[in-house]
């Protein structure tokens, strides 16, 4: 398989990896840049949505360069549409590769979801049925992305609001198969687990027990909102616009107790608070990470 990438697009090696270990980080929001730069570099890392830095130049790159100078970076793709049936966008793959080469992130991740159908981009993480056919597509797409950037990605479990009649396997079986076939790592979003468990009426603990934790290279935490479904029952929305819920913190502690220090990111994408509020959420995660001892790093767990 080939991708439309010019040879020599970058002289930098693409296998660069700087393991983060048991450190808590936050989403990077440009409005926080002055506050972040005015303090000494923290024991932390930042995650950015890759697509926001795919412009040719200008202030976004200047901000990301400033952040990257003193902190490890996690590059989080939102729009690759890995979960869809249609081939990946080669131009988007090339842009993604360029960003990886330029900023040398410690972590690169994408979603088990789709966002593009034919030529329309829907700007949402849309769900997919779990079947042998969709599994084959997702594996092809993960392979293609990993070849383009020449390093493994972490694939994130989704939050979903509905299911598909044609689904034939559980989400955890699906994810386990993708990881086994492609060699990718996993990004475990514990808020997504809690949201989906509530929305689909399964046990979040059962899901986590069945999740291939040994392949997890990063954890996401975030806040969620509440709505109701057609029957008037609770329906949780993955809103990323408020603090992490207590129930999600409890699940997080259980996971960290079992798999030790994993880089943990607090996501916050809507109704952005002042920097100290987001920092305090990361500090709460760090306290749990520190309680369960030093980090093993992803490579060791993969080999285990």
């Amino acid at each position: 398989m080939t991708t439309a990438i010019a040879p020599g697009a970058s002289a930098l090696p693409l296998r660069y990896s700087n393991p983060i270990g048991g450190i808590a980080g936050t989403s990077f929001k440009p409005e926080h840049l002055p506050a972040i730069l005015s303090a000494d570099p923290q024991r932390s890392f930042f995650e950015v949505h890759a697509e926001n830095y795919m412009g040719a130049g200008g202030p976004p790159h200047r901000a990301l360069e400033a952040i990257r100078r003193d902190h490890p970076l996690s590059l989080h793709g939102v729009c690759m549409s890995i979960g869809g049936p249609q081939p990946l966008d080669k131009a988007h793959l090339a842009r993604f590769r360029g960003l990886v080469a330029r900023y040398q992130p410690s972590i690169v991740s994408e979603h088990l979801a789709w966002s593009t159908h034919e030529t329309s981009f829907f700007n949402d993480l849309l769900p997919l049925p779990y079947t042998e056919t969709t599994l084959r597509h997702v594996c092809d797409h993960v392979d293609q992305m990993q070849e383009a950037i020449r390093r493994p990605i972490l694939l994130e479990n989704p939050s979903t609001y509905l299911a598909f009649a044609e689904t034939t396997m559980s989400e955890t079986d699906f994810i386990r198969s993708v990881a086994a076939r492609t060699g990718c790592g996993l990004l475990l979003d514990i808020n997504n687990v809690f949201v989906s468990a509530t929305n689909h009426g399964f046990s979040a603990l059962d899901y986590l027990s069945d999740f291939p934790l040994a392949r997890v290279g990063e954890i996401h935490l975030a806040g969620h909102a509440e709505q109701v479904d057609d029957e008037g029952d609770l329906l949780l929305i993955d809103s990323h616009d408020r603090p992490v819920a207590d129930a999600v913190w409890k699940l997080y502690e259980i996971v960290i107790e079992r798999c030790g220090g994993v880089p943990t990111l607090v996501e916050w994408d809507g109704k952005i608070p002042d920097w100290p509020v987001l920092q305090a959420e990361a500090a709460a995660a760090q306290e749990i990470l520190d309680r369960y001892g030093p980090a093993a790093w992803a490579g060791e767990r993969h080999a285990a």
């Binding site: 412009g55 200008g58 981009f121 829907f122 598909f164 479904d229």
Partner: protein, 260 residues
């Protein structure tokens, strides 16, 4: 790579996302046989609201002029008829100024589409490739008898927007919240948009300036550009316009046409 030619789940799932007249796709379900209507509507809402929000982020002055309710209703029509075709949302909404110009309820604000054109150009300048602007000394070093043949290479961020209305003044008043008196909306204004270094600038060009700058951006020599500008406006002043464009950082380099 093999991809099944049979209809995919996404072909069944996608069409109703931006079309409220369509029913919930038959392929989706709630857990344990529950209904999926409101559940599917979460995706409809996420898609529609996030794309309207994207337009609001690109066109803040337009939203400030119309108010959020008017803006969001107008943007909803646009989003449903013209969803993005790129995952880069800062590329979205290029057709929005034209849509505004045709939008029935915006006909009382004939300058609104031009304000939107300036905002779209602003965002393109914001994301444009970094490049050092032409140093004034380079121009000063050109022998006077060769000036007419001089050709300018525009800075990647440079754009011109022409308006039959006071679009630059209206843009400035509603973008930065600059206080001002009453605006005579009927006074035509042309804008230069560029980003010499960190900050995007929007300048009101003097008479003939837009024709002059457009000729230079197109690569026509300085002599031709001057003639065209003087034809467009008898008030056109060469030194003021050249100095203004250079000072704004509108160009990257100069050479002579025959050197190309």
């Amino acid at each position: 790579m093999l991809h099944e030619p049979t209809p995919s789940f996404s072909a069944a799932f996608a069409p109703a996302l931006l079309d409220p007249a369509r029913t919930t796709p038959g392929i989706v379900t709630g857990p344990h046989g529950k209904a999926a209507g409101k559940r599917y509507d979460v995706y409809r809402n996420n898609v529609t609201v996030s794309l309207i929000d994207a337009l609001a982020a690109i066109y803040p002055a337009v939203q400030r002029i119309t108010g959020p309710d008017f803006f969001r209703a107008m943007a909803r029509f646009y989003v449903r008829s013209t969803p993005p075709t790129s995952p880069l949302l800062f590329e979205y909404g290029r057709g929005f100024p034209g849509f505004i110009a045709e939008y029935q309820h915006a006909q009382t604000m004939p300058w609104l589409a031009d304000v939107a054109r300036i905002e779209r150009a602003w965002l393109d300048a914001y994301h444009a490739r970094d490049a050092a602007p032409l140093a004034p000394a380079e121009l000063a070093a050109v022998e006077p008898e060769r000036l007419a043949d001089l050709v300018f290479t525009p800075h990647p961020a440079t754009q011109i927007v022409r308006s039959d209305f006071a679009a630059v003044t209206i843009f400035a008043a509603n973008r930065d919240g600059a206080p001002g008196g009453r605006i005579d909306a009927s006074a035509p204004e042309d804008a230069l948009i560029t980003r010499p270094e960190f900050d995007v600038i929007v300048r009101h060009l003097p008479p003939g300036g837009a024709v002059f700058a457009t000729c230079l951006i197109q690569g026509r020599p300085l002599g031709e550009a001057t003639t065209a500008a003087l034809e467009a406006s008898a008030e056109f002043d060469i030194p003021t316009n050249i100095a203004g464009l250079i000072e704004a950082g509108a160009f990257m380099s100069i050479d002579f046409g025959d050197a190309r």
